[in-house]
Amino acid sequence: MKSINEINSLKLIIKALFFVFCGSYLLLIIKNMFAIMENDLSYINECSSEDITSLIIVTIVIKLISKGLFFIGFYHLIKVLNFETLDGSFSIKKINLFKKSGRLILLSGVIGIFAISIDMLINVFNATFSTIEQNNDFLYSLYFSAIVGLFLIVFSKILERASELKKENELTI
């Protein structure tokens, strides 16, 4: 009883935080739209309007794809929380959602790292080292999200095993 109460309160906090997360994503979209309307990428901390090249635009598009995949993955992860009892967390649907979210977050991390690497190379060739430090921080967070993605895939495998155990148990009874 105590654990189910704890789980319910944790679920509630996670969903509330995800709501805040969505809000900040919405602001990011508005910021991006503003940058496109004003034709100035400095609004999204990318570069000033004078140095926009096609390579920079490609990098920005790849970064946006990475962010989009991350958001979808995260949304699937939140959907995992829709279970009423503890046994509900071992259902095939939840396991598949876990796997899907893990794969999407991992993919977003890998794509993001690829985009940042291109960005870093551009900066090295242009000798603009000031942005490399910022990218370095971002690289760490992407690397961490890739690790989290892999952990979610592992979690799905553990839950799969737990689901088998539950079925065996029910059959024995």
Partner: protein, 169 residues
């Protein structure tokens, strides 16, 4: 098994990089806030908005401690890998490590978020929330911490199922 092996490699590299970054962060911080008079002009370059005063040094110290705890959280995650590799998914040790790392991630995320907001307010004299990667990362860290905590409970339940199963056999 392949996934766990890949995870092991990634987490090992991440852990070493984190330790190295923590060391650099502390050394640079101590030099900047404590001994900058002894260093030649321009020896340490920081972002323009970082002013050298007592409040900023306090923010820096809190963040350094939070960073240290984050490394400890990753250390707990790393400790689960050998157990996962043996296939002992439902051991009490794994659950304990997930729970510990979850709690650490929640506190680190909350601390970093608070320091970020307070330092922005301190530097700009207004409550100014800048939507940047750091905010996402802190929120993500708190949510992932909560997830680890939640699933440590679910895995405890799975352990009970396994024990029941073994007893029935």
């Amino acid at each position: 098994m392949k996934t766990i092996k890949l995870l092991k490699k990634l987490i090992d590299v991440f852990f070493v990089l984190l330790l190295l970054s923590l060391f650099i962060y502390i050394v640079v911080g101590i030099l900047y806030f404590g001994f900058s008079d002894l260093l030649p002009e321009g020896a340490i370059e920081v972002q323009d908005f970082i002013v050298k005063d007592k409040a900023m040094s306090i923010f820096f110290t809190i963040l350094a401690i939070a960073f240290g705890f984050f490394v400890k959280g990753v250390f707990h995650l790393r400790k689960t890998i050998p157990l996962l590799l043996t296939g002992d998914y439902f051991s009490e040790t794994i659950t304990k490590h997930f729970r510990a790392c979850g709690i650490i991630f929640i506190y680190v995320g909350l601390t970093a978020l608070l320091v970020h907001l307070i330092s922005q307010w301190y530097l700009n004299s207004i409550i100014w929330i800048r939507i940047d990667t750091q905010i996402y990362m802190f929120l993500f860290l708190i949510i992932i911490g909560l997830f680890f905590k939640l699933f440590s409970i679910v895995f405890s339940k799975a352990r009970d199922l396994k024990q029941e199963n073994e007893l029935t056999i």
